[in-house]
């Protein structure tokens, strides 16, 4: 065993010990009648077993069924608020909702904590403290807009935002109204170009692959470039953030601007990734913000079984915060299991893409 591997293994063991301790604390919190939320307390009563007695570590979470995000549809949303936090100001973030009732997740401080942790992963020279941000992504009742704004504020900056309604975008795609879709994308990019041209000293940005591409192309058509706007650091996310797109962006759009991919959604925090580039084939590997969230890559036919390193499986997420407990949620994504690394001494996932067995039913890359 090399010295480097020994260090990583040691850190991985420590991380696992920390995770097991954190699991015990979170289970105690969510299933204690004085602190837990009505949903999980009711669930335990019906299940007929006390997780506080039976869960001693992460592996014991398999005693829970897979979390179903359908449980998040409809009210009363207060059933998800932990009793101990009932008096705190509460946000609700939504996913879905193009048709029917969206799924709702309550949050109080989680999104701030998650993005502050993510902030620690950003290189200071590329995301200078005190500089302003552009949030070029979905607005409305979503976590992302507030979270990016908080990230900017946490780093001493001010965040400029655009209006972007992804539910309308999905409707345009489903109706086949391609001209309207293009016009709406132009409308979003118009807003971004206007903000960037207004002398606000914006140096950092969140965007999605599609919007970043559209912005770069528009700026070039206008005789400018992303670099000329003063942008120095970009974080972006989405399953369209493939190694090929990563390479294309670095070689043809960014002109030296730093960009880091992220993977996340309303149910979890934000998974970051170590730097990637030509030296590793622009491979993108995400690591969850353990112990607050854990990503596993499992056999699609048997979620009890974690696949081997390098093997393909379905992404399974466990969220473990005092605001929200999500055991063993099977994501709509798949990827390859990756080993721990120095920076993140726990399992990661690479090649994240829509789960192939569900892909045809999912509209991806809407913004």
């Amino acid at each position: 065993m090399s010295t480097e591997n020994a260090v990583t293994d040691g850190k991985a063991n420590d991380a696992r010990t920390d995770l097991d301790a954190w699991v015990r604390e979170i289970i105690e919190w969510h299933f204690n009648p004085d602190t837990g939320c009505p949903f999980w307390l009711d669930w335990a009563e019906k299940a007929g077993w006390d997780p506080r007695q039976e869960v001693g570590g992460f592996d014991d979470l398999r005693k829970f069924p897979h979390f179903e995000d359908e449980w998040l549809r409809g009210g009363p949303v207060r059933r998800w608020v932990p009793t101990a936090y009932a008096d705190r100001p509460t946000f609700v973030f939504e996913t879905g909702g193009t048709t029917g009732i969206p799924k709702s997740r309550v949050a109080q401080e989680d999104f701030r904590i998650d993005y502050e942790l993510f902030s620690d992963t950003l290189p200071e020279d590329r995301f200078p403290r005190g500089s302003n941000w552009l949030m070029l992504g979905p607005s409305g009742p979503r976590r992302l807009r507030l979270a990016v704004e908080h990230l900017a504020q946490h780093r001493g900056g001010i965040c400029f935002c655009v209006d972007l309604d992804p539910r309308w975008v999905i409707k345009l795609i489903k109706k086949g109204w391609h001209e309207h879709l293009k016009a709406y994308q132009d409308h979003v990019i118009d807003q971004a170009v206007t903000v960037l041209s207004a002398g606000h000293d914006i140096k950092c940005m969140f965007s999605t692959p599609k919007l970043l591409e559209a912005l770069a192309n528009r700026l070039e058509e206008n005789g400018s470039s992303l670099k000329e706007t003063g942008i120095q650091g970009i974080f972006a996310g989405g399953t369209e953030f493939t190694p090929q797109w990563n390479r294309f962006a670095h070689e043809e759009l960014l002109d030296g601007i730093y960009m880091t991919p992220t993977y996340g959604n309303t149910l979890m925090g934000l998974a970051a990734s170590p730097p990637s580039g030509p030296e590793n084939g622009y491979k993108i590997t995400y690591y969850a913000p353990q112990p607050r969230a854990v990503i596993q890559v499992v056999d699609p036919d048997d979620a009890e079984k974690v696949v081997g390193y390098g093997e393909t499986g379905r992404v399974m997420l466990t969220t473990l915060t005092k605001e929200f407990f999500v055991p063993r949620f099977q994501e709509r994504d798949e990827g390859e299991r990756e080993p721990p690394c120095e920076q993140y001494p726990w399992d990661g996932v690479s090649g994240v893409r829509p789960f192939s067995r569900l892909a045809s039913a999912t509209t991806v890359g809407v913004y």
């Binding site: 086949g176 391609h178 293009k182 692959p209 591409e213 192309n217 070039e220 058509e221 493939t242 190694p243 090929q244 797109w245 390479r247 294309f248 962006a249 043809e252 759009l253 084939g281 622009y282 890359g365």
Partner: protein, 474 residues
């Protein structure tokens, strides 16, 4: 393994995303294909489209014509660059057959067809341009017979979203380069072979590399081609046709619903036309939009269905290298089963009978380990009212529909090729006036027999050049 790169204005680009195309019967990988991402398409087209046309305009049309004719020869006979080595014409035939499911002799036939079109391209263009002096297209204006004529190109490049099923459709884009318009090709997932080989043949013949781009990829790459070119051609199903109907920038090539219509004056002699019917249904394994999928007559329809079924019903799958193979395989998993299921559903309606079933022990669907076949299918429809009468599939499938002659033209719906078997002047007049018929043959011309000097689903020259007024002060 052979690798197909993306061609970015002639320059190979190896993507980090690749797909494998596999042999339809063995499942073995045949080639690895680089997948473009939509951003590359958008970026290249924004930066290189005008350059593509400029490069072509530096070469007179007549010289370009000679080059593509030479390209046609090379396409058919030469060893051409491919992967790390070369591809012989025989390699091409085997490889194209392996991934498309078409029998090898059909691939060879399509290869010959493309070479034929290229070797006669001067005549084709003379016809499509109505003998216009090419210099007028290059310069944008010029006098002919003392009259000032001006034509403006509607686009610097033509985008094409190509299918996998029928290599013969590539003939549609062969006249583009001599018109000094660049080519942007998005090949079908199972048929990257023809666009690649033709591009290499053109390059060897002297066509500037910056005039041709090739972007393998999935649907979003096709969408990027359509969204970033002012003029494009797309091949697809009925849904694609409906999606782009009314879009003046997109010429859609969908299902043909091509038909043979027997007039009352000749229908009692229907037996004379059975060979014509069989050829029209069966050639190229029924994959083309010009293959006949409907035979309409006012009487004798049961006898016609029986006679055609006797000829094509017994045909069974044969290995692709067998020169007698008449059926192409379905290489997309589940496609044949879905089609056969759709047919079963339509059969539940009264007035529909599967006449070919009597010749097919074990049924029409033949499932194999890595691919499927559907055996030639002949349906009798007692009236045009039944849903089956409007069906068309990508294999030798034909409905024989009983319909009075005076209701026929209205009832057939959109029809790419109609062969009207009649000598009745009134019916002939009605067929000539029918706006739901594109290509019209009067008399015993198989639907699959094309006259290359005539436009196909619109004149490509009219699509690419608009006539306009131009005056220049003397």
């Amino acid at each position: 393994m052979i690798h197909f790169p993306v061609l970015r204005w002639g320059e190979p680009y190896q993507s980090l995303e690749t797909t494998e195309v596999r042999h339809f019967s063995t499942g073995e990988p045949v080639a690895e294909v680089s997948q473009a991402n939509p951003g590359i398409v958008a970026r290249d087209l924004r930066k290189g489209s005008e350059r593509a046309r400029d490069a072509l305009r530096e070469i007179p049309c007549a010289d370009l014509l000679e080059m593509v004719k030479k390209g046609g020869e090379l396409f058919k006979t030469a060893d051409l660059p491919f992967g790390d080595g070369v591809q012989t014409p025989d390699d091409f035939v085997r490889q194209q057959s392996a991934t498309t499911g078409l029998p090898e002799h059909m691939c060879r036939m399509n290869m010959g067809k493309l070479e034929y079109v290229l070797s006669h391209l001067d005549e084709v263009l003379t016809s499509l341009t109505r003998k216009l002096d090419y210099d007028i297209l290059t310069r944008g204006y010029g006098e002919e017979d003392g009259v000032m004529r001006s034509y403006q190109a509607t686009c610097p490049v033509l985008g094409m979203v190509l299918p996998s099923n029928s290599p013969g459709v590539h003939s549609l884009w062969l006249p583009i380069i001599p018109l000094q318009i660049g080519l942007v090709l998005k090949p079908g997932p199972q048929e990257p072979w023809t666009p690649w080989r033709m591009a290499q043949a053109f390059f060897q013949a002297g066509i500037p590399k910056e005039a041709i781009a090739l972007y393998p990829g999935m649907g979003e790459v096709g969408a990027a081609v359509l969204n970033n070119t002012q003029r494009s051609l797309i091949f697809g199903g009925t849904a694609t046709v409906e999606q782009y109907a009314g879009n003046a920038g997109v010429q859609v090539h969908g299902p043909g619903f091509s038909k043979i219509l027997l007039g009352d004056d000749v229908v009692d002699n229907w037996e004379q036309y059975v060979d014509l019917m069989v050829d029209s249904v069966l050639t190229n394994s029924g994959r083309g939009c010009i293959n006949c999928s409907g035979i309409w007559a006012s009487r004798h329809t049961r006898e016609i269905a029986q006679a055609v079924a006797e000829r094509i019903g017994p045909i069974a799958p044969l290995p692709p290298e067998n020169p007698e193979a008449a059926l192409a395989a379905f290489t997309v998993p589940g496609q044949a089963t879905a089609i056969s299921g759709d047919i079963d559903n339509a059969l539940k309606e009264d007035g529909v009978e599967e006449v070919s079933a009597q010749f097919q022990d074990g049924g029409r669907l033949v499932n194999q380990e890595h691919c499927d076949y559907i055996r030639p299918t002949v349906m009798h429809c007692a009236s045009p009212e039944v849903a089956m009468s409007k069906k068309e599939y990508m294999y030798p499938f034909v409905t024989v529909v009983e319909c009075p002659q005076d209701q026929m033209i209205k009832a057939i719906g959109a029809t790419l090729v109609a062969t009207g078997l009649t000598e009745d002047p009134a019916f002939t007049r009605s067929l000539l006036d029918a706006r739901n018929i594109d290509r019209l043959n009067i008399g015993p011309v198989p639907t699959i027999k094309l006259n290359w000097l005539q436009p196909h689903e619109g004149n490509i020259v009219d699509f690419l050049f608009r006539p306009r007024a131009f005056q220049r002060a003397g």
